[in-house]
């Protein structure tokens, strides 16, 4: 058996991965829980925000107005508890990328909207539009990257899951 000390140094930075993972997981959990709950308790949920993007037909905006924040809260709770971490992280990354695409799309089509990211939504003034959209896209991209971290390293400290999910096992 090799001496314990050399084994410890051999691990190095890898030892801290679960701690980093915990921080990432809790940041994303807080983002999703906050974003989802704020929207859920607004009249019609995120309906107004969904409408403003002019992507979905009128028949879909009401169901999406509730389904979207509900999904956000589910992702947030899974991440908070640390169950289905990788699955939740995949959903988190995809949803963030969808938001980035949505904002880029309204930007390209020339609309001035409140992204409704954390509640609100609807049309707004053109003032400061480019800076606003840039910031929102940068922020959501950062959250997507944090999600990618969790997809890559779903094992985190203080999670209810203790062993890697099946797909995390070395082949």
């Amino acid at each position: 058996m090799p001496p314990a000390t050399s084994r410890r140094t051999g691990l190095g930075w890898r030892e801290h991965l679960p701690t980093v993972g915990l921080v990432v997981r809790l940041i994303l959990a807080a983002v999703w829980l906050y974003a989802g709950l704020v929207k859920l308790f607004e009249p019609g949920g995120a309906r107004l925000a969904v409408i403003a993007y002019r992507i979905f037909p009128p028949s879909l905006v009401t169901p999406l107005g509730y389904a979207l924040p509900a999904a956000e809260v589910v992702i947030g709770l899974f991440l908070l508890l640390g169950i289905f971490t990788r699955l939740a992280a995949i959903a988190s990354a995809l949803l963030m990328l969808a938001f980035v695409a949505g904002i880029a799309s309204v930007w390209a089509r020339g609309y001035n909207i409140d992204c409704g990211c954390f509640g609100g939504g609807g049309d707004t003034s053109a003032a400061g539009r480019n800076l606003r959209y840039t910031k929102e896209i940068a922020r959501d991209t950062a959250f997507a990257l944090l999600s990618v971290w969790l997809i890559w390293r779903p094992r985190t400290l203080f999670s209810l899951d203790r062993i890697p999910e099946p797909e995390d096992q070395p082949a």
Binding site: M1, L40, F41, P43, G44, G45, L48, I51, A52, R54, P57, P58, V61, Y66, A70, V73, V74, L77, F78, L81, I83, F84, G110, Y111, N112, I113, G122, D123, S125, A126, L160, D161, R162, I163
Partner: protein, 269 residues
């Protein structure tokens, strides 16, 4: 590498196998535990979110119901409840405008475009349809339903033929603070300012104080919701949403109208 102790090969393998078995057993136990934790966790999370969503949906204030028999101001149709203005034939392009009288950007829109749109409609170049919405008053509970009251006061003025005068008059007296609302006195005074006098004024007064056209406004707001109009002001030229850069520029809007073909039939946004 440390020197290998001399041991019989088979006993070494047995020790290794035992260790492997123990590890496998522990891993299987962990897996079972994790499966239970995940299952219980997922059920709890979904149940909690499901209950929240159900409570939110059930707790929503019901929107006032549409009534197909609503009293309508003169010239308003019962298909989309729009107020038509101007003499344009059915072959002219059709511009549908959705507005809330408490919306500050609608006031900006009226200031920029009111006169030029009136001129175009008067010249028969465009079929102008206004649609009142009232969603803003839900955000300002202290505004005393000012969006609805403004719209039905306008309805009463439409009966007296003061469609554009009263319309722009309401925006002109809009409170500088969004949600500041309007008083009843303001609506009555405005009627006199735009020249509703004598018997017409008595009729206006009865119409307004009796909220004669309230149901019309509710029906129009319902259309606004059903069509998922993204906000106010929103304009549809022959059913296609007008970009805000065009909408707020009188010259660009006039050019867009001039370039638009005849309204699609049935003319509907």
């Amino acid at each position: 590498m440390s020197p290998q102790p001399k041991k019989p090969v088979d006993s070494k393998r047995t020790a290794r196998e035992k260790a492997a078995e123990a590890r496998a057993g522990a891993l299987a136990a962990e897996r079972r535990r994790d499966r239970t934790v995940r299952l219980v966790g997922a059920v709890v999370v979904l149940a909690v979110v499901g209950v929240i969503v159900a409570m939110v949906i059930l707790g929503q204030k019901k929107a006032p119901a549409v009534n197909a028999n609503a009293a309508l101001p003169k010239g308003v149709n019962s298909v989309d409840y729009g107020v038509k203005y101007g003499t344009a034939p059915a072959t002219a392009p059709r511009l549908d405008l959705w507005e809330d009288f408490q919306c500050p950007i609608c006031k900006d829109f009226e200031t920029a475009n009111g006169a030029s749109l009136k001129a175009l409609a008067d010249a028969g170049k465009v079929q102008l349809y206004w649609h009142p919405a009232n969603f803003i008053e839900a955000k300002f509970p202290n505004s005393n339903l000012s969006s609805t009251r403004a719209a039905y006061a306008w309805g009463c003025a439409i009966d007296s033929g003061k469609v554009t005068e009263y319309h722009s008059g309401i925006f002109a007296m809009q409170n500088k603070t969004e949600g500041g609302g309007y008083t009843d006195t303001q609506f009555l005074n405005l009627a006199q300012q735009v020249g509703i006098a004598g018997n017409d004024f008595s009729t206006f007064q009865t119409c307004f104080t009796g909220a004669k056209y309230q149901q019309w406004v509710i029906n129009s707001e319902n259309e606004f919701q059903q069509r998922a109009v993204p906000g106010t002001p929103t304009g549809y030229l022959n059913g296609v949403e007008v970009q805000s850069a065009t909408l707020f520029s009188p010259s660009a809007l006039a050019a867009a109208i001039a370039a638009a073909g005849p309204a699609p039939s049935p003319s509907h946004s």
